[in-house]
């Protein structure tokens, strides 16, 4: 059984290099990282327990991200777990964010800014809405609600 504790992040990413990079960066910051490469694997993990945060690559090998979110919703998994989209696709700033998705991180990202955003979740700031800023390969964080 997968047992999440505080500061656990589920990374859903099929690019092994990016997985390795995220794991190193996040563990250095004190997060516990569980990496999976597909939506199916992620569902299996979420059936067992809930992480603090989900980093979801928009291009999964086995299903569309919308399909993944629907499965999560239908099975009532990760009910209160914020999800961050994560992608190198263009025009992400125009993307409408579905329920449960609190923001989008554009690849490539600036490490310091990325960690700043991720660390904000440690204190339970799930009302953050992260807006993409393509011009500097980073993102802005605005408090909402």
């Amino acid at each position: 059984m997968v047992a999440f504790v505080n500061n656990d992040i589920l990374v859903i990413e099929d690019n092994s290099e990016m997985q390795e990079l995220l794991k190193m960066l996040l563990e250095e910051e004190g997060f516990n990282v569980l990496s999976v490469t597909s939506g199916g694997e992620a569902i299996d993990v979420l059936r067992e327990d809930e992480p603090m945060l989900i980093l979801l690559d928009l291009t999964l090998p086995d299903m569309k991200s919308d399909e993944f979110l629907l499965k999560v919703k239908n099975e009532k998994l990760a009910n209160h777990v914020p999800i961050l989209y994560f992608s190198a696709l263009p025009r992400l700033d125009q993307l409408a964010l579905p329920e449960g998705v609190v923001g989008v991180i554009q690849k490539p990202f600036q490490i310091n800014e990325f960690l700043e955003v991720l660390n904000s979740f440690k204190s339970g700031s799930t009302s953050l809405r992260i807006n993409l800023n393509n011009n500097n390969n980073g993102f802005n964080v605005n408090q909402v609600g």
Binding site: E17, L21, E28, K107, P108, N137
Partner: protein, 99 residues
């Protein structure tokens, strides 16, 4: 021309593997050119738009965008030129670690 690459010091432990992967790209690019495998280049461009930029290898991100266009146009000559630029960059870059 020497190209300086500014890499966050946190990434130092995994930089050798990153460089190793980029050298592997070169071998795969050569094979893909020989086989006119444009799908490979589309996948490669997508991968290069992610990790290299975070490492600070922004020149590779520029090449990724060129690869994407050349692959879409099925332009083998252009892909060969880009591969040569990629190879030259890997031989000539210098990494500087920053906080």
């Amino acid at each position: 021309m020497l190209r300086l690459v500014y890499v966050n010091r946190m990434l130092k432990p995994i930089l050798p593997r990153f460089i190793e992967m980029r050298r592997a790209d070169l071998i795969e690019m050569t094979n893909a050119i020989n086989q006119s495998d444009f799908n490979y280049f589309r996948d490669l461009s997508h991968r290069l738009l992610g990790t290299p930029g975070t490492f600070g290898f922004h020149y590779l991100v520029k090449l990724a965008k060129l690869i994407e266009i050349a692959a879409l146009n099925r332009d083998l000559d252009q892909l060969k030129k880009i591969k040569n630029k990629y190879e030259y960059f890997l031989k000539s870059h210098k990494v500087i670690f920053i906080p």
